[in-house]
């Protein structure tokens, strides 16, 4: 309750007319950002617990196509919660990393019953790489439509099947965060 109350309190502050319209000094606006971020971080822990594990995390920078899990993991799960009362076909767009040396990105998405969900991999719009402060290495996005009933969640498993087929070295490279450019270059050469 304390975690949810933090967000509730911050949302109350966000309803001040200056916060709604942006008519505030920049340091005040920055403080609004800080508060809402803290509130979301707390509330997300509650959401993670309801999904059965605190290892579920949130990608706050998904709006600029940046997410560490989807970019660095060869296999991961996505839980999609629909807070509305109407069913929705929500387009899930996830930034992914593909080998710039020419390896085709190939992903498989399954629902919780193990059925394959139609998905496609596209290039990200090039302009996304112009966003200052974006540190993603994703060049592509994986797209699928998540059909979610009202007030429900569904879980999808995503697997990079190209990674399965090219052996342990590349699998490891995609699965774990590459620490520096030299290491990445070395792995690309070996690959």
């Amino acid at each position: 309750m304390q975690r949810l109350n933090d967000l509730r309190n911050f949302i109350g502050i966000m309803q001040h007319h200056d916060a709604v319209t942006g008519t505030a000094k920049q340091h005040v606006t920055d403080d609004y950002y800080r508060m809402i971020h803290l509130g979301i971080e707390q509330a997300i822990k509650v959401v993670a617990k309801t999904l059965g594990s605190e290892n579920w995390s949130y990608c706050a920078l998904l709006n600029i196509s940046q997410c560490e899990i989807t970019e660095y993991s060869a296999a991961f799960d996505v839980a999609v919660y629909n807070p509305g009362s109407q069913a929705t076909d929500f387009p899930v767009r996830l930034p992914i990393y593909a080998d710039p040396a020419g390896n085709d990105p190939l992903y498989e998405v399954k629902d919780s019953e193990g059925n394959i969900v139609q998905s496609e991999v596209f290039l990200l719009p090039f302009s996304v790489h112009n966003i200052p402060g974006r540190t993603s290495r994703a060049l592509h996005q994986l797209v699928f439509l998540a059909n979610i009933p009202g007030l429900s969640s569904r879980t999808f498993s995503v697997r990079n099947i190209a990674a399965d087929s090219v052996g342990a070295i590349v699998k490891k490279w995609i699965s774990y965060k590459v620490v520096d450019e030299a290491e990445e270059n070395m792995i690309v050469k070996r690959y």
Binding site: T23, K25, S53, W56, L62, N82, Q86, F90, F126, N130
Partner: protein, 308 residues
């Protein structure tokens, strides 16, 4: 080029397994369809030129444009600047970002079809249709807005159609009413001094959707955040997506609306969804339902444990 060249090279070397991507010279008109909605790109300009849904066809032009914000010296009236509180452009109609055809990349798949449009390095957008959906999504990205010439700029997405809207448009009300009717150069409760500031006096807030209609068609635009909107001429809509201004408007903030991050101006990225329906039919109900799904955006959580 120095910053982006290597990324461009990297991008060019990547081929997607699914979907086709190829740059297209802006000299061929092209129709995109998912079986429910068609949209056409004009060959000359590379801009949207028409939408067709369920037998209703509408000529539509859409582009990102800009106003120059009024400069000022913080005085109360004559030299009051465009700023956080007021939209006060120098000119009364927006200017094009580019006079050249926009550059295009087509991305076609079974699930999604996209057109990436580049107006300038700081103003781009993606036109997109999804399988099974009747709306056209426009994902815009604007910023950092250039101000090196000493002028602040206010960026709008301008939609021009042949709908005979007779000076009226309707802004949504977050579901409380059908919508609020707005009339150009008119107020219900007082006499408006005509042509005082013709553009800004006709701007209104939009928090969910805005529509124009005539006897044959209704065009609705769903927004993903609160914005300013206007219809300065019949059949037109303008949605203000981003602003960067260099002078304070003297209403109390005492700072210009010049947000910076990482040493440069802010980048904003958002989405408009265009629905073309017959007026006053079930299609408008579909738009209201879409408003709800737009408001109640699903929450995505991730785990790399792969424990279903």
């Amino acid at each position: 080029d120095d910053v982006l060249g290597s990324k461009l090279e990297m991008r060019d070397s990547v081929q997607s397994k699914k979907g086709k991507e190829f740059p297209v010279p802006p000299h061929e008109s092209r129709i995109f369809t998912n079986g429910l909605i068609n949209f056409t790109l004009d060959g000359g300009s590379g801009l949207l030129s028409s939408i067709e849904v369920e037998g209703i066809k509408l000529n539509v032009k859409q582009e990102l444009m800009y106003y120059i914000g009024h400069p000022g010296n913080n005085s109360e009236f004559e030299f009051r600047a465009s700023g956080a509180y007021i939209f006060r452009p120098l000119q009364q109609s927006p200017s094009p970002i580019t006079m050249s055809p926009v550059s295009l990349v087509y991305v076609e798949g079974d699930l999604v079809q996209e057109v990436h449009q580049v107006f300038d390095s700081w103003a781009t957008q993606v036109l997109r249709i999804y399988k099974g959906r009747k709306d056209l999504e426009i994902e815009w990205q604007v910023g950092p807005i250039p101000v090196e010439d000493g002028f602040g700029r206010e960026i709008v997405s301008k939609i021009t159609t042949d709908i005979a809207s007779q000076g009226e448009f309707i802004t949504g009300t977050n579901g409380r009413e059908e919508g609020i009717l707005r009339k150009r150069d008119f107020r219900n409760d007082y006499s408006l001094e005509e042509n005082y500031e013709p553009a800004s006096q006709n701007y209104y807030p939009v928090t969910s959707s805005v529509s124009i209609e005539d006897e044959s068609a209704r065009l609705s635009v769903l927004v993903d955040r609160a914005q300013g909107v206007s219809s300065l001429a019949d059949g037109e809509l303008e949605l203000m997506v981003h602003r960067r201004l260099l002078d304070d408007d003297a209403f109390g903030v005492d700072e210009p609306l010049d947000e910076t991050a990482f040493g440069v101006g802010l980048v904003a990225r958002g989405r408009h969804r265009l629905f073309l329906t017959a007026p006053n039919d079930l299609g408008t109900k579909a738009v209201r339902l879409a408003e709800k799904t737009e408001f109640y955006q699903p929450l995505l959580m991730f785990s790399n444990e792969t424990k279903l």
